[in-house]
């Protein structure tokens, strides 16, 4: 069954926390990965591969640069679920 927006957000926040140490509750939809959360391009890639695995979706390289905010990533994952 497809996960809801809030379930994906919670799962993503867990990955971000695990990869970067940022508190999960700081990972809110409107936050920008780079500007607000200070996540660099390399951490972004490790978050992406872990998210692909966790949510069973493909996030192509070309797509990653469009994922500016946490909300962008959540929406993409919600939409990409089977």
């Amino acid at each position: 069954m497809a996960l809801s927006q809030s379930e994906v957000l919670a799962g993503l926040a867990e990955i971000v926390n695990d990869e970067t140490g940022i508190a999960a509750d700081a990972v809110a939809l409107e936050k920008s990965f780079v500007d607000d959360l200070d996540i660099d391009s390399i951490s972004m890639m490790t978050i992406v591969v872990n998210a692909e695995d966790k949510f069973g979706v493909k996030i192509p390289d070309e797509e990653v640069k469009n994922l500016i905010t946490v909300g962008d990533a959540v929406d993409f994952i919600v939409g990409a679920q089977g």
Binding site: D40, V49, D53
Partner: protein
Amino acid sequence: MSHPQLNQYTAVQFSRIYGLGAARGDLIVSNDEVAGPIDSSDEWIRQRTGIIERRRASANLSLMDMAVDASQQAIAAAGIDPSEIGAVLFSTITHPHQTPSAAALLADKIGANPAPAFDISAACAGYCYGIAQADALVRSGMAKYVLVVGGEKLSDFIDPTDRTISFLLGDGAGAAIVGPSDTPGISPTVWGSDGSHWDAVGMSASLLELRDGTTAWPTLRQEGQTVFRWAVWEMAKVAKKALEVAGVEAEDLDALVTHQANIRIIDELAKQLKLPENVVVARDIVHTGNTSAASVPLAMHALLKSGEVKSGGLALQIGFGAGLAFGAQVVVMP
């Protein structure tokens, strides 16, 4: 028609690495020196790659010079005579002749002539490919001792204005002698390739394009994100598989010696493997840079030399890169 029964090689049960040798470029090149032409900075390079400086070879130090130096150290460490070497395998992507091989010249220079000698083209996976073949040659009885060298003078094939890979690269050579053993010293190898990403890392153009004047001097290039994602994700699976086929758990290891591509890849791999704290993770990249085929033996040599890991320790070694190609095995450190 009847004929006499053929002789075949008599197999040996086990093999191990007898000794290692290491030679690094004679120049220490700082991040500040490479940052200018790519509008980068010491801080950016340290943060994204872990590299503080890389070793490069001056004009007077050739790939062959470094390979001979490393090989002679490995032969001395193994305590064998070079005439006992039954095969020389040289993994390199920077030997500047299409033919003849670098290995034949190396064999002659170190006193192993007339041993069979050939080059391996598997880029950053090349040393682990070499160990796999050496293990097979020794255990099949085809060769008593095999010299495996991973060596590169990558600085001959970089473009200082390229942001994708050149700033990572260094020069060096690492060597190992593999021979017969009473106890198991080299696990089965997990190796393979994925040519569907043939373009992800490699030369910017072919020699034919150079001949036709349609390209400048070809240099190394990569799609950093594609390679990074493949390295952390697929290589974690390969590393886990290597542990499984070796019959060991992550906590049985003394060291993790990965190809030194980027410290962030190394750290992520260690994390995916859930390595306990006491397993030493090789981070030779910090002062050596990425030396492609040389990086695994250089990194293992450094761990042994500093005493961080003792001889007899178990190491998971894994190489991965252009091809794409990968190889991993668990070895007893010499």
